[in-house]
């Protein structure tokens, strides 16, 4: 089997491999390091961090659902200062690429976070998780509105734009995800991460109340994969030049390939790591084998391949 060039880029950041962890599904890397060398995957995307330490939501925080799960963590974390002082240097020392995911309650909080990240070395990209409640606008999730999404990205761009890529993480809980993608792209996002979890609920039939402490939770896992593939396909179709980091229920190499073909330049493995700590590394190996079996010599050739025009199909080997 021939070797496939699996390297990829998101904006001006180059990664030797296309499989990443998904934010919130790898903590800050230390827990997974026992199972595979973190430097062997494209990058570790760390759990979304806010300015201050947070306890998160009450338990129960989890409910397994058919081929998926709901979570309601509430962004528990150490706060940006502790995170940048302790977790990032450790990841850098492992030789891992690091994408820091940030979350805020106001556009200003995102700017404060971006400023601190700008002053820290060794970070490959910043993921702006805008699937958070906006306290300045009745708690509505930033990413459900084009204007508020654009405002957050604009505030981050002013601080860090052009230095490291800005990846806007979007929610699929919208009528038209391409319009949100266009809004964040126009305001300076170098790439988009598709998709965040889908809002859901489980009612406990014994207590006859919502099961989760936070009542609603984010649905993840294979159950949402077709939604992710659809979102990636739509955004790639509307904005072919905008790099996409795909995610949502990827558990195998074939799942990752599906997202690459839909238009993703890289793929994150999230919930699958909960059930299998070596999921990311096996997805990456399987993806290489599947690309090779289909005659691709590089990952880049396969990005968006599902969009090709049938009558004008190019020879894969000559591309």
């Amino acid at each position: 089997m021939s070797t496939v060039d699996l390297s990829t880029t998101l904006g001006n950041a180059w990664f030797p491999a296309p499989i990443f962890t998904a934010s919130g599904c790898a903590s800050s890397g230390k827990e997974l390091a026992q199972f595979f060398p973190l430097k062997d995957i494209g990058a570790v995307v760390t759990k979304s961090v806010m300015t201050k330490p947070r306890h998160g939501r009450p338990t129960p925080r989890m409910a397994e659902t058919p081929s998926g799960m709901l979570n309601s963590i509430g962004l528990q974390g150490p706060g940006i200062d502790s995170f940048l002082a302790n977790d990032v240097p450790w990841l850098v020392a492992q030789g891992a690429r690091v994408i820091v995911s940030i979350a805020g309650e106001t556009a200003d909080e995102y700017a404060v976070l971006a400023r601190k990240i700008r002053a820290t070395g060794g970070i490959s990209a910043i993921e702006v998780n805008i699937s958070c409640p906006n306290v300045e606008n009745r708690g509505l999730v930033f990413a459900t509105d084009c204007d508020t999404s654009a405002r957050v990205i604009d505030s981050v761009r002013k601080i860090i734009g052009g230095e490291i890529p800005i990846i806007a993480k979007l929610t699929p809980d919208v009528t038209d995800i391409t319009s949100v993608a266009k809004a964040v792209h126009d305001s300076g996002a170098d790439a988009v991460a598709l998709i965040n979890t889908i809002l859901g609920m489980v009612i406990n039939i014994d207590s006859m109340r919502p099961h989760l402490g936070g009542k609603t939770g984010g649905l993840s896992g294979p159950a949402i994969r077709p939604v992710a593939v659809r979102a990636i396909y739509q955004v790639h179709s509307a904005l072919p030049q905008l790099p996409i980091l795909g995610m949502g229920g990827v558990a195998t190499g074939r799942d990752a390939l599906e997202m690459i073909l839909a238009g993703a330049s890289g793929v994150s493995v999230g919930t699958a790591s909960f059930g299998n700590p070596t999921a990311a590394i096996s997805v990456q190996r399987e993806l290489g084998e599947l690309l090779s079996a289909r005659g691709f010599t590089s990952l880049r050739q396969a990005v968006g391949y599902a969009h090709r025009v049938e009558s004008n199909e190019p020879e894969r080997d000559s591309r």
Binding site: G24, L32, F35, T59, S67, I73
Partner: protein, 282 residues
């Protein structure tokens, strides 16, 4: 390399035996060399349902006992209650079936360096990890008393060979169908006095652990408990299995019961805040 999950290994275990014991299944599986790193209190996370399963999360089980001398090499024993879809599936697995497991995970019970008087308290199948612990404590010269409680006699797990690892065994059930009638906490105060108990080890439902903590604290007895919270990953990455724990400086933080537990110092857990909105922590 990290210090978290530092002995954990993902491997293929083989079911050696699966026997129904009362309301539970005793499942023995071969795990090879990794058994040397398994300590009482550690747990194992098992993939359930097969490749096409709609159950995407591993199930966590306390390791009941380990053996490194059998014809199968290293083996571990689990006591499983077929409650949910995952544990039911596991209880249906016959000899020879291969399982995808990750072990050992979590903290283990601290073993005193000097011989002391210990009391092991198990609620329901929470007694499972206590028999392996009893062997270790006895080998170190401690006097080991055991107190097992359950709602009814059928839910007491106390195998014959287990009884040999303890100096005394007291059974108490809420319906009085086995042993005396009541809860483990009804007799705890007098046992602490009569047996001059220095350390309590416990495993079982959270309400029981909370009640034991209150008595242990009032008597200034050390209490190590193995907590039970719903886990998605078992390896510290999902942040779902958290408990409010008070540090020496009085601050409260949400600790993961998979990597900061399952064995915790009962007096540090803020039992009254479990399930409460952490935003209201003082």
């Amino acid at each position: 390399m990290s210090t978290i999950n530092k002995s954990a290994t993902q491997l293929t275990a083989v079911v050696i035996a699966n026997k129904r014991v009362g309301a539970y299944h005793q499942i023995i599986m071969s795990v090879g060399e990794v058994v040397k790193d398994c300590r009482p209190g550690n747990f194992i996370a098992i993939s359930v349902g097969g490749d096409s399963s709609r159950m995407i999360l591993r199930r966590a089980f306390a390791i009941s006992r380990t053996s490194d001398s059998s014809q199968y090499g290293g083996t571990i024993e689990l006591i499983v209650a077929p409650h949910g879809s995952g544990s039911k599936w596991l209880c249906e697995q016959a000899e020879g079936v291969e399982l995808d497991v990750v072990t050992p995970l979590g903290t283990s019970f601290g073993i005193p360096t000097e011989p002391v008087n210990v009391l092991l308290i198990g609620g329901g199948y929470g007694s499972a990890p206590l028999f392996g612990l009893a062997d270790v404590l006895k080998a170190r010269g401690s006097r080991v008393d055991m107190l097992l409680g359950a709602s009814t006699g059928a839910k007491i797990y106390a195998p014959m060979e287990g009884k040999r690892s303890v100096n005394s065994l007291t059974i108490i059930t809420e319906d009085g169908s086995m042993g005396s009638t009541g809860r483990v906490t009804s007799t705890l105060d007098s046992i602490i006095t009569d047996r001059s108990i220095d350390v309590i080890y416990s495993c079982g439902p959270m309400a029981m652990l909370k009640a034991i903590t209150e008595i242990a604290d009032s008597r200034q007895v050390i209490h190590q408990c193995a907590v039970e919270e719903a886990m998605a990953c078992g390896i510290g990455i999902c942040m779902t299995c958290v408990l409010p724990v008070r540090a020496d400086d009085g601050s409260i933080s949400m600790k993961r019961s998979c990597i900061d537990g399952p064995v915790m110092d009962g007096s540090t857990v803020c039992w009254d805040l479990v399930g409460k909105n952490p935003g209201e922590f003082a």
